[in-house]
């Protein structure tokens, strides 16, 4: 009788140790899977997230961070087996759509990092939408080998 209860408590404690993935709400926009890959030696930082728009058409007009000099949004495209990258000033977030920033698709680049980012650290990002306004989110820094897992199904 005693033992199952202890086991249940132990299980609850284990489950409790895992932080729930952060989800941010801004009006009818939801932002999740906010992840930053550990920067490569001397290289720029990066960030990925998933935006779900339950409201009217909107546009992501900018991303900023107090930890970087310059923050840009990039889009990768594959054609004929070749991958190319382009800078995009804004990203449309259509009504009812899910827009994923994920490797090989879109990413945020943070040039001129002002501090060292290591796995487990948090990186604050400010996302500004034309309609919905501004929200501050926190990206979890992970090693590249853990990126697919951290992004969940969103990386495909």
């Amino acid at each position: 009788m005693r033992r199952p209860l202890l086991a249940a408590l132990g299980l609850a404690a284990l489950v409790g140790c895992r932080p729930a993935p952060a989800v941010y709400h801004l009006g009818e926009i939801t932002i999740s899977h906010v992840v930053s890959p550990e920067p490569q030696r001397g290289g720029p930082g990066g960030a990925y997230f998933t935006i779900v728009n339950g409201g009217p058409d909107d546009t992501l007009v900018g991303v900023a961070s107090p930890d970087a000099d310059t923050v840009m949004m990039h889009q990768s495209e594959t054609s004929g087996g070749m991958m190319q990258m382009q800078m995009t000033a804004t990203v449309p977030i259509p009504a009812g759509d899910t827009v994923r920033f994920a490797p090989g698709r879109r990413h945020v680049m943070l040039a001129g990092l002002r501090r060292t980012l290591l796995p487990g650290d948090s990186l604050p990002l400010t996302l500004t939408f034309r309609g919905a306004g501004t929200v501050v989110v926190s990206a979890r820094v992970v090693a590249y080998a853990d990126l697919d897992a951290a992004l969940g199904t969103g990386s495909r």
Binding site: R41, H74, S76, G81
Partner: protein, 204 residues
């Protein structure tokens, strides 16, 4: 002409990849309908020595990738995923596999830059560089489109380098049999590497 039909096969293969490989294939990667031999091109390794790809990798499972160290995410994700899976192999199996990274940006990727970048993933990964024309010949023999250097639209930013996004797997018969497009996950690598080691590409 030959080049174009091979490119067609690669594109077709990439399309098939979305449907989990050709019908009947055990592989999660894209099995090439027409295997091709290891490129017979000599580049320079990060230790400064000449590296004759066909001779130096003969008989071993070889994963070949073209990329560059300023690559935003495709290159480090591919290399990190491959490294994470290779760490779980036995010494004997790991010893039968080589990973070769050819830079498509030799101007910025000095031997030292390339070595340091690869060491973040696995110090046994081989880094190769050379002049543009030799790299282009290597790409042609590996049946990938040549890398394109693209100036940024906004001045002041670094240029980016287009590159083939797939890892090419050469088997112990010294032919390429399977391609791994970007999006290949660690579980896909973990599934396919034992098949490559067992020679499953021969259709047994």
């Amino acid at each position: 002409m030959i080049r174009r039909s091979l490119l067609g096969i690669l594109v077709a293969g990439a399309l098939l990849g979305c449907a989990r490989g050709p019908e009947g294939s055990e592989f999660h990667g894209v099995v090439l309908p027409v295997p091709f031999p290891r490129p017979r091109v000599t580049l320079t390794a990060t230790d400064g020595r000449p590296f004759d790809f066909a001779a130096a990798t003969r008989g071993r499972i070889t994963f070949l990738f073209f990329g560059y160290t300023h690559c935003p995410d495709v290159c480090p994700v591919h290399m990190a995923n491959l490294a994470a899976v290779l760490k779980n192999l036995t010494y004997e199996d790991r010893d039968r596999i080589q990973v070769v990274f050819v830079t498509t940006d030799p101007a910025r990727d000095s031997a030292q830059v390339l070595r340091r970048w690869l060491d973040q993933f696995d110090p046994t990964f081989i880094g190769l560089r050379g002049d543009d024309s030799t790299i282009a010949r290597f790409e042609a023999e590996a049946h990938v489109a040549a890398a394109v250097k693209e100036a940024p639209r906004d001045s002041g930013a670094d240029y980016t380098v287009g590159h083939a996004a797939q890892v090419i797997a050469f088997a112990s018969d010294d032919s390429a049999h399977v391609l791994y497009p970007f999006g290949t996950r660690q579980e896909d690598w973990a599934h396919d590497i034992p098949l490559l080691l067992d020679g499953a590409w021969s259709g047994k």
